[in-house]
Every structure is written in C-alpha cells, then in structure tokens.
C-alpha cells in the first residue's frame, strides 16, 4: 500500500466519525436496555418461583440462540407486519439490546449464585425481607462481581453495532461504503481506519470498566466462600 493513500483518507475521517457516533448511540441504547432487562431476568431466574424462572430461561434461550442479523430482520420487518412501524435505529436497539440482555442475564446469574447463601440467611435473620435482602445485600455484591464478565459483553456488543446497516442504519460501515463507492482505491485504508476507531473505543471502554472494578473492590471480600 502506497503511503500517499493515507493523505487521501484524512479528509474522509470526519465522515467516518459521524457514522461512528451512530455506533456509539446504538451501543448506549442497547447496553442500557440489556443491563436493565438482563438484571431483572437474572433475578427472576435465580429467585422467582419455578414457572416464572422457566419463562426467563426460555427468554434467554431464544435470544442467545437466534443469530443477531436474523433478530434485526425480525424486529425491523416483523414488527411492521403487526402495524408497528419502528424506525431502523429503534429496531436495532431493541433487537441487539434484548439479545445482549440474555447474555448479560447469564453473567449476573452466575454472580448472584456465587454470593454465599449464608449472607441471605444472615440478612433475613437481621429482619430484612426477602426482597430487601436481595436488593441491599446480594445485588450490590453481585454487580461488583459481574464487572469482569460485563466488560467482555461491552466489547462484543460494541462491534455488533456494525450489523445495524443490515436494516438500513447509516453507521460507520455504511459511511465507509459511501466513501468506497466513489474511491475504490481507498477500500483497504478506509477499513483500517474503521478498525482503529473500534480498537480505541474498546480500549477506552475496558479501561474505564477496569478502573470501576478496582474502585469498587472491597478489600478482603474477594474470593471468600
């Protein structure tokens, strides 16, 4: 690759960044949705009565078992069949967010189950109700333990946002294809640039999660059973 191609890529970087902002918006939307639904699903799986727990397991089974691109099509084209005209962006947040919630539920479920049962009994002995015991005693510890697994999910869904072009969301890969369509010779350099953007964001994101993990660590508590 000729070095001069990089000077040709430079003017296109703002356009790529405009697309990348859409990926970040998708990420924020889907990961918040996934977090909220994921925590609730995990709580239900671990603590709710059996029939409800089974329903939650079926939910995670479905969203972990269907390919993401299929979920995107189901939400975008499928919902409109029922007279719900969702925008491509919203359909992408829903499809990718619910899928992520199923994975996040697994992370949280493992964390809930790793909190020794004695803590629950101790909380109940102190007079806290079952719900309060979960919210004030188990949940904070479990969330802290989940951070490592969660950083993995973060890196994974960040890259999944590029799939949203499949239903017409103009994100960074689409901006790249606009540029490529009029400058065939820039195909490779443009994708290298996109790769760098994702690498930087993954690095910064994981760094932030790592810092949070260290900050929230309670000395002496880790590894106890």
């Amino acid at each position: 690759m000729d070095l001069s191609v990089w000077t040709q890529v430079a003017p296109h970087v703002p356009v790529l960044l405009r697309g990348f902002v859409v990926n970040i918006q998708l990420l924020l939307g889907l990961i918040s949705l996934g977090l909220a639904v994921g925590v609730v699903t995990a709580l239900v799986e671990v603590y709710a009565p059996r029939p409800v727990g089974i329903a939650a397991s079926a939910y995670t089974w479905f969203f972990r078992g269907v390919p993401e691109i299929v979920l995107l099509f189901l939400f975008y084209f499928g919902l409109s069949q029922f007279g719900i005209p969702v925008s491509a962006f919203f359909a992408a947040v829903l499809a990718l967010g619910l899928r992520s919630s199923a994975y996040q539920a697994q992370i949280f479920r493992g964390a809930f189950q790793s909190i020794p049962h004695g803590q629950m009994m101790a909380a109940r002995a102190l007079g806290l109700g079952r719900l309060r015991s979960i919210v004030y005693v188990v949940l904070p510890q479990a969330l802290r333990l989940s951070l490592a697994g969660w950083s993995n999910e973060f890196s994974s869904v960040l890259k999944d946002t590029t799939l949203a072009w499949g239903i017409g969301v103009v994100e960074v890969m689409r901006q790249a294809s606009y540029i490529r369509a009029r400058n065939f010779t820039l195909t490779l350099p443009i994708y290298v640039t996109v790769a760098l953007m994702f690498l930087v964001l993954t690095y910064v994101g994981n760094l932030a999660i790592g810092l949070a993990e260290r900050r929230l660590r309670v000395p002496g508590l880790e590894g106890q059973r």
């Binding site: 409109s80 017409g168 689409r174 490529r180 065939f184 010779t185 195909t187 490779l188």
Partner: protein, 262 residues
C-alpha cells in the same frame, strides 16, 4: 389534500446510478430520474438508503413504496414484486488485470477463477454459462472487494455491469482493463409492491415517457455516464436547486449537461 408521498428505497453506493457525494448528498441517475418524475407526476418522494438485499423484503413488508437501485428485471423477482417497464439496458463487462492479454474466450476456459458480486446478474451469468466450461465462480459481497482480489492475482477476471466497470477502470488507471462485454440482454426496472396496490407504475411510465419527450432523459445520461464523479458532484451542486426548488426538470438537466461539457 396534499400530494401523495412515496418512500423510495435505494442502495446508494453504486455510482453512477446512485451514490453519496463527498458532502453527503444523494445523487445519481436513478435518483434524479425519480425526483424528476415526482415533479412531473405530482407526488413527493422520500429517499431512504437501504441495503440492496433488503429492498425487496422491505417493499414486501410495506417499509417502502418504490425500489430504484439498478434492479435487473428477473422472473424470480417478478414473483414477489412488480416491475416497471425496462428503463435501462445493461450488459456485463469482463474486467481483467491490465496487460494480462486475456480475451473473453481465454477467460471462459477451464481452470479460470472469475469473480462476481453475490446475487448479481454477473454471478448468475458465470454460474449458468461459464461454470459448465470449467470456470470456477468466486463470489464477493461487494465489487471493490473483487477488484482487490483481482489486483492481488487471486482471480483472473471479474464480471460486473458495464457502467460500474468503466468507472473502476478509470479509478484504477493502468491496473485493470475491460477484456470484453458480454451481451446478457439485462434490463433494469423500477419496482413496487406486487400488483401495484398504490397505482404507482402508471405514474412512473408516464413520467419516464415525458422525460424522454422533453429530452431530459438523454441529457441526464450524458451528464451521468462519462464524466468523473467529482465533476458530476460539483455540477450537481450548482444545478440541483433548479430541480428541487424551481421544480423544472428540463432546465435542471440542461444545466447539468452544460456544466459537464468540456
């Protein structure tokens, strides 16, 4: 009552039929034709960029009204959507590395690796006509990827529509060339939902006929097929207000063609 509004779906990354300018505007032959027809026939359009493979599903699902994206008319597609009359003849060009000395007969011979974009007429052509001769078909998601592999020597030739191929040859000056053109009798049509429930096709047909009568059609062809994309973009920017604001297709096409004449 306002004018009806139709959502036009197009995969806007296929110059010169449709592409996004450096400044982010949607332009191209298909799109300007749609804009001009909308003015002549009194409807409004909303252009929506959609992946090529998703356009037909989107129209079936009611997420769009018109597909304008260089669609080849095929019996298979006509089972699920309705086509307009053909508006464009497009044959397939065979692109090879410059200086390779390959001609059409040499490409269509045993042991050759020939690339094409997945789902396009080029790949169907290779499959039907050349694979029985011993050619191996290599499919790519996009045309530029195929060119990269051609340049890298991993394939011997690429089959793609004539106009994008010409554009590729201009961009890769001296590196690739057109070995020949295969007459596939391929024609493009606009498409709408099966059975045309909104009665859009008659409007498209009247619009195309009017554009041809007025001379707009030929001027647009002159403007879009030949000049470099950069030149078309600056001419488009100068003239487009005549179409969108003054709503005068003829003066617009004259302006565009005049700007691009040497």
């Amino acid at each position: 009552m306002g004018q009806p509004k139709y959502v036009v779906l197009s995969d806007i990354a296929w110059a010169p039929f449709e592409w996004v300018s450096e400044k982010g505007d949607y332009l191209g032959f298909d799109l300007d034709v749609m804009r001009a027809i909308a003015i002549l026939e009194g409807f409004e359009i909303e252009l929506r960029d959609t992946p090529f493979d998703s356009i037909i599903p989107a129209i079936i699902a009611g997420r769009g009204d018109i597909g304008a994206s260089g669609f080849t008319i095929t019996d298979e597609r006509a089972l699920v959507i309705s086509f307009s009359e053909a508006y464009w003849d497009s044959n397939q060009a065979v692109v090879v590395r410059a200086g390779s000395g390959l001609d059409l007969d040499m490409v269509a011979s045993p042991g050759r690796l020939v690339g094409a974009q997945r789902g396009t007429t080029g790949s169907f052509w290779i499959e039907d006509e050349w694979v029985p001769l011993g050619v191996t078909l290599v499919e790519y998601e996009t045309y530029p990827e195929a060119i990269l592999d051609l340049l890298a020597g991993r394939i011997d030739a690429i089959v793609q529509d004539v106009d994008p191929s010409k554009m590729a040859v201009v961009q890769y000056q001296g590196q690739i060339e057109i070995a020949g053109v295969v007459d596939t009798g391929e024609q493009f049509g606009f498409l709408v939902a099966k059975g045309d429930p909104k009665e859009i096709l008659p409007r498209i047909h009247r619009g195309v006929a009017a554009l041809k009568d007025l001379g707009v059609w030929d001027l647009l062809i002159e403007a879009y097929f030949g000049p470099s994309l950069g030149a078309i973009e600056s001419a488009w920017e100068k003239c487009i207000a005549i179409l969108l604001v003054e709503r005068d297709p003829l003066r617009y096409a004259q302006c565009l063609a005049a700007e691009l004449r040497p």
